[in-house]
Amino acid sequence: MTKINSKIPEGPIAEKWTRYKEHQKLVNPANKRKIEIIVVGTGLAGGAAAASLGEMGFSVKVFCIQDSPRRAHSIAAQGGINAAKNYPNDGDTIYRLFYDTVKGGDYRARESNTYRLAEVSNNIIDQCVAQGVPFAREYSGYLANRSFGGALVSRTFYARGQTGQQLLLGAYGALSKEIKRGSVELFTRREMLDLVVMKDGRARGIIVRNLFTGELERYSAHAVLLATGGYGNVYFLSTNAMTSNGSAAWRAYKRGAYFANPCYVQIHPTCIPVHGEYQSKLTLMSESLRNDGRIWVPKKKEDAERIRKKEIRPRDIAEEDRDYYLERRYPAFGNLAPRDVSSRAAKERCDAGYGVGPTGLAVFLDLKDAIVRLGKDVIKARYGNLFDMYQRIVDDDPYETPMMIYPAIHYTMGGLWVDYELQSNIPGLFVGGEANFSDHGANRLGASAIMQGLSDGYFVLPYTMQNYLADQIAVGTIPTDSPEFDDTEKDVRARIDKLMAVNGKETVDYFHKKLGHVMWDHVGMARNKAGLEEGIKMIQEVRKEFWSNVRVPGNPNGINIELEKALRVSDFLELGELMARDALHREESAGGHFREEYQTPDGEAMRNDKNFMYVAAWEYPGDDKEPILNKEELNYEFIEVKTRNYKTA
């Protein structure tokens, strides 16, 4: 425990960040250009940080896995971004946003980080408007807001159902401007395969694979920022993009960085249900639909049965025979209950036999009342693109029949451990956005992911990284031919050669799907001791089988999509086990982590604040040893810890 130093500044919570900035170290403008920074990832966190650091004058190298920075998966965020502007005059404050976020995260977030997030949220909106992000507006010309799950105020700014896209394009514009100016150098179609840590313990570079040529490339810098997103794809099926992966974070872990709270996974309640074995990904329907939609299943099992067999249609079920279970269980928040609560409630109904859809793993999201109340045109203006998407995928008209939804893996609250400065325990290794263990605790509220990404990227990292870099001027350019670079590259090459040499019978996806099933069944929405223990064994077996029977065709030179996937899956096979271990050790239910043994008689999550009010920061001791648990105790000085309650306001 002594190993963990969160570096939280002294003082009242509302003054901590100001005090930090007042006392941080700065770099002389003339010297900034001599300092190099590597940014991996060009999503909201990485893109915004690279642009801002470039503007400040640092020499930035930015890496993305796709062909353009504009394609990072932040682009898929739909619903909106929170900020405590209180434009609607409904009683919002910075403290309330902070409070809602900490409560939404089931009191497992670091208070000081979350407060800072709420504090800079307003700057983000100002910044994005100045960049030309076309947020939704009222007829007055002023910005519009909508409500979102887990909050009683309307604080969500949005750009149709494409908020993430518009914010990312804003950051991409800022990044493009800096690339043109020459302060940022862009490397596309590069995948980071390892972190280079020097003998003195500082992170000084990365090894990437050029996905076009297959060559391994070395890049050095005075500091490295990972903004590589979450690891939800460990489940194979998730709302993440196909190339979203956990490898950068996992490789940092294996170089000594702590991995915090890996078991905190968010399962999003409003996804389009799984429809077949060949399916490659799940599609999210924005949570904003819950503003106007009501979620229900039939009250009678026999009705559910007949709907599954398509003998009757949803609209044939009379109003009194419908169970609006969220409204029933959580009268105060109703259909706007937080994501983890809503997801579990859906699972509970389906497991009890009330599910609909061909598989019985779906519930209805019904906008009929809203269509009647507001008219089809209003609903079309609000959700038209979502309805179109639903219709394209499911081949059903949502204006006529209720949509079917089911929870799916969406976001990982866990990630690399960072201190108040967003620096990991490896000096010089910073982590931003979803890749860090974040400000969300055990669950994340809607419209907060992009808030955190941009907060980290625009307003936190540029300050804290500068603080670290202030005494690095004397270091000079860092050569890439040092023994550390040689050794790290050798390790990567060995891993690739080993994969190519297996020459087995099964495809990478076969193993990925197998792992995904184990993770979903054993480390999914509801977990228990026996299941987790079995899951760990099964993951180990899949891993063993993978290394003896995977087939990676072709050669590592040039584009080799199977090799790319194999490298990612080989890391998921290790990461999945750590997730299960973390879930097993955390003997409580908190946010996205629900242990069946720890629930109230009416099925609500039961925390154990006495024994588990800490961040589990796992340390890598070597391949054949069990990971070491470090604990960062969470102290709530400015917020009263309560049992989460969405039943009454």
Binding site: A51, Q127, G141, Y142, Q162, K177, D395
Partner: protein, 246 residues
């Protein structure tokens, strides 16, 4: 469903490519087009072959990564739909599907169906942004914007940069892409300061990169998965005339 596929295979940028025939069987109509290619690739890998390289990422129609020219249309025959959102129920059992990469001089083929679209990034770099820096900006509500203009700006900003407009255009013109970005900022007060330089610089970059000239065929609008309107091109032309005259 059983399908015959004619897919363009090309080992690398400098090698010659050709069409190769494949067959896939027992495809469910609910499969997405890319999942159908996944199934084909699984079979190819199992037989020890080289899987078909294609660009894709989010698979929910927003990242703009997917880029196939399917049966004569960019992103296939369904309107307002990216390849990843196209489902096999839109095809007939036994049909032959021709799959080609985007074809345009500024989009060279890298491998199979993968093309290099960095030209689009270069166009954006020429001026597709508002040169604000982090911090030091006014309060968000200090700049009221007419709702109708904000909505039109959003319509233009919905572009995903996939390149379907260039692929569809018989001239391989990038006017719809460029005009969408120019329009977005032309409609907003924040963008007015740099408007003249922006339109001139972006058009000059577009020409330099070797995109063709717009001849108002409007194929781009018809094929755009995000239904970006050609009125944006007209708006850009207005902006351009204004910039040249003023």
């Amino acid at each position: 469903m059983d399908l015959k596929l004619k897919i363009w295979r090309q080992a690398s940028r400098n090698e010659k490519g050709q069409f190769v025939d494949y067959e896939v069987h027992n495809i469910s109509p609910d499969t997405s087009f890319l999942e159908m290619i996944d199934i084909l690739n699984d079979e190819l890998v199992e037989k020890g072959g080289d899987p078909v390289a294609f660009d894709h990422d989010c698979r929910e129609g927003i990242c703009g990564m997917c880029s196939m020219f399917i049966n004569g249309h960019p992103h296939g025959p369904e309107a307002a739909t990216t390849t990843c959102q196209l489902h096999m129920r839109k095809f007939k059992d036994g049909e032959t599907i021709v799959i080609e990469p985007w074809r345009a001089r500024p989009f060279p083929v890298i491998k199979d169906l993968v093309v290099d679209r960095s030209a689009f990034d270069e166009i954006i770099r020429a001026g597709g942004y508002i040169s604000t820096t982090t911090g030091g900006v006014p309060d968000a509500n200090a700049i009221p914007i007419k709702k109708v203009n904000a909505d039109l700006a959003m319509d233009a900003a919905a572009c995903i940069g996939c390149g379907a407009c260039v692929a569809a255009c018989k001239n391989a013109s990038a006017m719809l892409f460029v005009s969408a970005k120019v329009s977005q900022f032309a409609l907003l007060p924040q963008g007015k300061v740099e408007a003249k330089d922006r339109v001139k610089d972006m058009v000059a970059k577009m020409d330099e990169l070797g995109f063709g000239n717009c001849t108002n065929t409007y194929a781009c609008e018809a094929e755009c998965p995000k239904e970006i309107s050609i009125t944006n091109i007209a708006r850009m032309n207005r902006q351009f005339i204004g910039a040249k005259l003023g």
